[in-house]
């Protein structure tokens, strides 16, 4: 999207919003540079905790929070952190927020914390977060880093919900724990198991690539 220079006075609020570079900074994470479907990053947590829609949503929110806070801090410290120790510094910052998230989830719901298991702690090594820190936050202003983190986080939540709803629907006959099918529904056990995660990810990647190709043509 390019910045429109003509007819600026005639544009309404939504047009201005749509053509502003800040909107683009946010929107790019949703589909064009979706962290899961396009960048294929953070596969460990994507495959492991997308077995139900709720787990996927919780994981997505936790990751978005860590991404947002670490992007803010790293972007504001970008001129202070020496280049030679930047990775260690980023990890320290990320780990701080992950620990906070871990304790927060434990405080909110023990059940959810058990379902997500070690994968909350493993957000530390989610390459998507380190990737945004290294590729974006360390080179851009705080405001743009916030937009970038929110966009990437939303894209991650969308991806996890895409996987989680279908896996829960087929594997358990419900969405967000609410039964959709009658009692006699036969669960596809494989969809809750790890292979189901791989199958669904492959199918969604196929759908995304097909949509992209159609757009390109």
């Amino acid at each position: 999207m390019s910045i429109q220079t003509t007819n600026k006075a005639n544009e309404g609020f939504w047009d201005k919003l749509a053509s502003s570079p800040s909107t683009d900074e946010y929107m790019k994470g949703l589909f064009r540079e979706n962290p899961v479907f396009v960048q294929v990053l953070g596969m460990c947590s994507t495959l492991a905790v997308s077995n139900t829609a709720l787990n996927g949503l919780a994981m997505g929110l936790a990751t978005t929070f860590v991404l947002l806070m670490s992007n803010i801090l790293i972007a504001s410290l970008r001129n202070v952190i020496p280049k030679q120790v930047r990775i260690a510094s980023y990890l320290l910052i990320i780990a701080t927020f992950v620990t906070m998230t871990d304790y927060a989830i434990q405080a909110i719901s023990v059940e959810l914390s058990k379902a997500l298991g070690a994968f909350i702690a493993l957000i530390v090594v989610n390459c998507q977060i380190l990737g945004r820190a290294e590729a974006f936050a360390s080179k851009n202003t705080v405001w743009r880093s916030i937009l970038d983190a929110l966009g990437m986080g939303t894209g991650f939540i969308i991806a996890l919900l895409c996987l989680g709803t279908v896996r829960e629907l087929l594997g358990n006959g419900s969405i967000f724990g609410i039964p959709v099918f009658p009692d006699s529904f036969q669960e596809w056990v494989i969809m809750i198991l790890p292979p189901g995660g791989f199958f669904m990810l492959a199918i969604w990647l196929m759908v995304f690539n097909a949509m992209k190709q159609r757009k390109a043509v």
């Binding site: 006699s184 529904f185 036969q186 969809m191």
Partner: protein
């Protein structure tokens, strides 16, 4: 670019250049595949005789699912449809033969789709599949519906030609109702209750089990037909069966109380069907004779290990899938010496 292709076209018309072999037998893929279908027919007919209408519907459903999927995916990828080479028919038949006779039809249909789409087309179609497509479909069904795939149907039940099993006609996506009968196969009877079955009954197929695995004699006859016509590498079934026999014999003589007789192991479960018709898949098995023997021995050993010490009563499917996974590496390790080179492939000076 265009000029180059024009030159190539002229070349093709005037000069016909091809690599060896220059003598061909005149037998194509579809001839071999058709003969495999002939060899499978007695087994399929016996299955329909033993289990009735349910088995017939099951075999038809899985075959139709495979052929339709093959046709649809070929069209979708803008290739000529490959259903006329009979390979999808074989995949469908084999899938149906490895499922219980009262398996719900919608699950069998799903299995057929998975077999062709995931077992074959993902890798690029016939000739490129790493695993036996029918077994990929079955492995998927085993993981997705573990209860339905281990619910068995009585053999020679009196009303088998007049009515269809309740489970067979389950509506799509619904859980199959139990027939009231969940008999044990000889293998599960041995595994969980330690009851052995008479070898004669096992070989002739007077037992329950998956649709097409019960009558060992007909499977062996089909295999011999294919081996005589040189459409099946007889080294593969022989090496698998020999390995199973020798290993079980050793175990049986060391502790007859705990381990079954080698005859029981050979004729029970899906071993015959797997060894003769699935492990011999030309794409999934090694090329060299030495490689084939290692491949067969590996599958045989895995079958014994899974059956005797594993959690499941039957392990032929997983054994063959693992064998398929190993076979490209066997081809890499064992290479025939090329004429004019040394043992390690280096050029000989001269």
């Amino acid at each position: 670019m265009q000029g180059k292709s024009q030159i190539q076209n002229v070349f093709k018309k005037t000069l016909n250049i091809s690599t060896s072999p220059h003598l061909v037998r005149g037998i194509g893929t579809n001839d071999i595949m058709r003969n495999v279908v002939w060899a499978l027919l007695p087994t399929a007919l016996y299955a329909v005789y033993a289990f009735g209408l349910s088995a017939l519907l099951l075999l038809v459903t899985s075959t139709v699912a495979c052929v339709l999927t093959e046709h649809f995916l070929a069209k979708k990828s803008k290739q000529p449809s490959t259903i006329s080479d009979w390979s999808a028919v074989i995949t469908g038949l084999l899938l149906g033969l490895t499922l219980p006779p009262n398996f719900p039809l919608w699950m069998a249909f799903l299995g057929g789709i998975v077999s062709i789409a995931l077992g074959k087309f993902v890798f690029g179609g016939l000739g490129y599949n790493v695993f036996n497509p029918a077994l990929v479909g079955r492995a998927f069904l085993q993981a997705a519906f573990p209860v339905a795939i281990t619910t068995w149907f009585p053999v020679f039940s009196p009303d088998r030609f007049s009515s269809v099993s309740v489970a067979t006609s389950t509506l799509p996506l619904m859980e199959p109702a139990t027939d009231g009968f969940t008999g044990a196969t000889p293998l599960s009877a041995f595994k969980f209750d330690h009851i052995s079955t008479d070898t004669y009954d096992l070989a002739m197929g007077f037992i329950t089990g998956s649709t097409g695995e019960t009558c060992a004699v007909l499977i062996i006859l089909g295999g011999i037909y294919l081996a005589v016509r040189k459409m099946l590498n007889w080294h593969i079934p022989v090496s698998i069966l020999a390995t199973v026999y020798v290993l079980t014999a050793l175990l049986h003589f060391s502790n007859p109380e705990k381990y079954p007789t080698p005859e029981f192991m050979l004729f029970s479960g899906g071993l015959m069907l797997g060894a003769v018709f699935m492990a011999t898949d030309m794409v999934g098995s090694p090329i060299t004779t030495a490689g084939v023997w290692i491949y067969g021995a590996l599958i045989g050993a895995l079958v014994v290990v899974i059956r005797l010490w594993g959690g499941l009563p039957e392990g032929v499917m997983y054994a063959i899938l693992l064998g398929n996974a190993v076979s490209p590496h066997l081809d890499n390790l064992i290479r025939p010496r090329v004429y004019g080179t040394g043992n390690r492939g280096e050029k000989v000076r001269g």
